[in-house]
């Protein structure tokens, strides 16, 4: 265990809190396993050692957003700790922390209040302990950078000195806590580097790929080339001749629905990675490919587009769309499609697990250690409480690493071999066996008045649903997919209908950064741009007119509650004033009014609300005489509510510009005869440095609204802004992604 820094599970188990992870519990005897009675531990997220060290638990996974650092900074700020004395410990999977599923851009909004309470509670108790010690009023004692200071006498005591006394005090009621004013913050929004930055720059950060256990074997697993295929036979004779190969074992196929189960396959286990990969190459495997072997993604995309031309299940209905169309001065309609996408995080799925004495300990690059506990427990037939999941750094996640099938593989193989096993997915395994971002066919129709403004609007969307992960018969979209830029369009149009047609899945479908917003935003904002050009209007002015006056709109989809990214519409209403504000900001900052489009140069615009955040993008493209696209500038205006780590917020939107560029321009998974055609970065293309926006300018609104999402909402408006810019530059309207498949000149 030389390279994995962990907190022992027994230390965590010492905490004797009641049920409910988010409640400030009673004190526990010790923080560390040494049963040190002098430590102070007023929350599951926070402990203070007698030596003054402050330990803050990061219960969310770090995959690049900075939340592992930002939430502890909030605790440290409310506590007024000295950041240099703070140690951030990554939590193991444990329900006492509340949800650890680092997904949905919700780490800050769901936990920032809890972190503030944890810090303020500890600070209050330390101040009270100091007041007792000095026999002065608590109001005269104030925390200051790791110590309590008596303001009148200038007496000082370190947090560590006061920890034991503080631990004996009653926990103050939440309502009595005083929180810092924004002006007093030391760490929040002060661009303090994330805790792993130096390790990363020195090559010391431990990712799942770097995790080790003593005596472990490394496994490479051959999966069916077609989703749902079953192992017919295999011949491992040549494999076993490879030096370093120790064993070849079968992993049983999943039972539908596939959920996060191991897919099943043939595993080559070896002393080291190279031997496992070499052994894999020599393996001869025959598969019964099953019904998905006839799947052809190009043909299927046509089917989705055709299905979107047919009436579907109504998921939003206001006014009377049909009579609106009948009385319209003009009708405009268009179909859009998007391909399957792979997450392709730079670190492929990797985890090490040991099954021993009916328990599993694993180290995994996972967004969701609690799902690891459940999935692994089911895979090896134990209780999830007997699965200890240590979370490493993640080399990118984007949704892929919420699904711990690869951790289950490691646990299954460890149980079979009696040794710790590390499973390493090759890039080919990753690209060919992903939980793909869904392919979608969409149809939009607008009935326009004499000025080219829509009075009736129909948006049909057909795509295999993420719901197929949990119900293999599912054919219709989940509420969360509908509430992503589809049944929550905030346009001021009297007649409005959204419909969903059925679609089956033929590969595993999963959520990828920004999820269904990606294809809905592409169709929606491309179509809006088309309507603006048709009306001879400026696309930004036209969009503002479509949004109507600034107001909060209550969404009332048909037959369901509006999903609203799991938040109430009272706390997070759909607010067109905020959307208008980011649009006006991006127009002003980008110099939109003075833009010059045409002859290979073009500007495009799109604005989208997702993850409760409002984002507007203006993209400038150059298309050269060979049709090659470069992006000299991208402007992104963002209202994400209050922020807690301004630089990391900017970084997420800078990253979204690149992620969105990949989706717009180049990325595509295609499937023939059920087999994914791409395998590595030569044919699954993602944006490289010269293809990414040369200058991304993020304009962050200084918002006092509740903190909203940051990791994902930058992505959806980027692809339509690029497509719209390309139209401005070339007159070519690209309705099918990726753009590289359309000849632009």
């Amino acid at each position: 265990m030389s390279t994995v820094k962990i907190m022992e599970r027994r230390a965590f188990l010492k905490y004797t809190f009641g049920a409910g992870a988010l409640i400030l519990g009673t004190h526990v005897e010790s923080w560390a396993s040494g049963a040190d009675k002098a430590s102070f531990h007023p929350s599951v997220f926070l402990g203070i050692q007698p030596n003054g060290d402050v330990i803050i638990v990061a219960h969310r996974s770090e995959m690049g957003t900075g939340s592992k650092s930002t939430l502890p900074m909030v605790v440290a700020d409310e506590l007024d700790a000295d950041w240099k004395r703070v140690r951030v410990e990554q939590a193991i999977g444990d329900e006492k922390y509340g949800s650890q599923n680092t997904d949905g851009s919700c780490s800050i909004r769901d936990f920032v209040a809890i972190m503030k309470v944890a810090g303020a509670t500890a600070r209050t108790m330390l101040e009270q302990a100091a007041a007792q010690k000095w026999n002065v009023p608590a109001a005269e004692c104030k925390a200051q950078l790791g110590q309590i200071v008596h303001t009148k006498s200038n007496k000082k005591a370190g947090f560590g000195e006061l920890a034991a006394a503080a631990a004996k005090l009653p926990v103050p009621d939440k309502s009595t806590l005083k929180f810092k004013a924004e002006s007093e913050y030391r760490y929040i929004n002060k661009n303090v580097p994330v805790v792993d930055q130096q390790d990363i720059c020195e090559g010391k950060g431990t990712f799942g790929m770097d995790a080790k256990m003593p005596g472990m074997l490394v496994a490479s697993v051959e999966h069916s080339p077609v989703f749902g295929g079953k192992l017919a036979s295999f011949d491992a004779a040549e494999t076993k001749k490879v030096a370093g190969v120790r064993d070849v074992l079968i992993i049983d196929p999943y039972k539908p629905p596939h959920n996060f189960q191991a897919l099943g396959g043939v595993a080559v286990l070896a002393d080291h990675t190279w031997a496992a990969l070499q052994g894999r190459k020599k393996l001869k495997v025959e598969w019964d490919l099953g019904p998905n072997a006839s799947y052809d993604s190009d043909r299927y995309r046509e089917q989705l587009l055709a299905a979107a031309k047919q009436p579907g299940k109504v998921v939003r209905n206001e006014g009377d769309v049909d009579s609106g169309f009948a009385s319209a001065a003009k009708i405009h309609e268009a179909s859009y499609s998007t391909p399957l996408l792979s997450h392709a995080p730079m670190e492929t799925p990797a985890a090490v697990a040991e099954f021993k004495d009916g328990k599993v300990v694993c180290h995994a690059a996972t967004q969701n250690p609690q799902a690891v506990q459940e999935t692994v427990a089911a895979a090896v037939g134990i209780d999830k409480k007997d699965v200890t999941c240590h979370v490493t750094l993640l080399g990118g996640g984007f949704g892929r690493k919420s699904k711990p099938d690869y951790v289950a593989e490691a646990a299954i193989l460890s149980k079979k071999t009696g040794k710790p096993v590390k499973v390493v997915w090759s890039r080919e395994d990753d690209i060919r066996n992903d939980f793909y971002h869904s392919t979608a066919g969409m149809y939009l129709k607008a009935g326009l008045d004499g000025n080219g403004k829509p009075t009736s609007w129909l948006h049909r969307s057909v795509f295999p649903s993420i719901g197929t992960t949990f119900d293999d018969k599912a054919e219709y979209a989940m509420e969360l997919e509908m509430g992503m830029g589809w049944n929550d369009l905030p346009y001021d149009i009297p007649n409005h209908r959204a419909e969903n047609g059925p679609a089956k899945n033929h590969v595993r479908i999963g959520w990828l950064r920004a999820v269904a917003n990606v294809y809905h935003a592409f169709a929606l904002h491309s179509f809006t741009d088309e309507l603006a050009h048709l009306a001879g209007k400026d696309p930004i002015d036209y969009t503002l007119a479509l949004l109507g006056p600034g107001r909060k709109i209550e969404m009332n989809p048909v037959g369901m509650k509006y999903w609203n990214h799991n938040q109430s519409q009272k706390d997070f209403p759909v607010d067109t004033a905020r959307l208008r504000n980011v649009i006006e900001t991006v127009a002003q900052k980008s110099g939109w009014a003075n833009r010059k489009s045409g002859s290979g140069r073009g500007w495009g615009f799109a604005a989208h609300r997702s993850f409760l955040t409002y984002v507007a993008v203006v993209t400038e493209v150059n298309v050269d005489d060979r049709g090659r696209v470069t992006i000299p500038n991208m402007h992104i205006a963002v209202d994400a509510g209050q922020t807690y780590n301004r630089d990391r917020v900017l970084a997420q939107f800078e990253g979204a510009a690149v992620f969105g560029t990949s989706i717009a321009m180049m990325s595509e998974i295609s499937v023939k005869d059920g087999k994914v055609q791409q395998s590595n970065f030569h044919n699954y293309q993602v944006a490289r440095l010269p293809e990414a926006p040369m200058n991304t300018h993020v304009h962050l609104i200084d918002s006092k609204e509740l903190a909203a999402g940051v990791g994902e909402p930058g992505v959806p408006p980027v692809p339509p802004s690029i497509a719209n810019a390309i139209f401005a530059a070339t007159g070519k309207r690209v309705r099918d992604l990726p753009i590289r498949k359309t000849k632009l000149v």
Partner: protein, 149 residues
């Protein structure tokens, strides 16, 4: 047997001479700063220096590294101006590709102490960052080189 220097230390390797340097560094020497990303020389995550040149360690067999001097991210010891520029610009997001990015950038500045944007494009395009830190990579390189951003 293959003999080579890694970060100044002489090492001997008796295994498969076709084993890529990447897996030797990671699995034999337990120097995991050099990352696996594609195994085909397509992403740059495994970039190290061999005799001062940036190479993809996934495409460099142990046989071909014989007698050579290898420097990995660990060999920069956190003191290189490029590493300092990376930290000052808070380049990393997830961080997985950054060892390779840094090694590639260090090699660039050795050849071209004052690189132009075009030279940065050409030299860095083999290193993929899926988080999309390219703007900051570019500005950190310029800052390390002392050229105007």
């Amino acid at each position: 047997m293959v003999q080579l220097k890694v970060n100044g230390v002489t090492r001997k390797f008796e295994g498969d001479p076709e084993m890529p340097l990447l897996w030797y560094l990671r699995d034999m020497l337990e120097m995991t700063g050099t990352k696996y990303g594609c195994g085909m020389g397509l992403c740059g995550a495994c970039t190290v220096h061999v005799d001062g040149k940036a190479v993809r360690s996934c495409q460099t067999s142990m046989a071909s590294a014989a007698g050579k001097s290898v420097v990995t991210i660990e060999g920069l010891k956190g003191q290189h101006p490029v590493q300092k520029a990376w930290m000052a610009a808070s380049v990393p997001q997830c961080g997985y590709c950054q060892s390779g990015q840094i090694m590639q950038a260090v090699a660039l500045l050795k050849d071209r102490p004052k690189p132009t944007d075009k030279e940065i494009d050409e030299h860095m395009q083999g290193n993929i960052c899926r988080c999309g830190t390219y703007n900051r990579i570019r500005s950190a390189i310029k800052s390390a080189a002392g050229v105007k951003a």
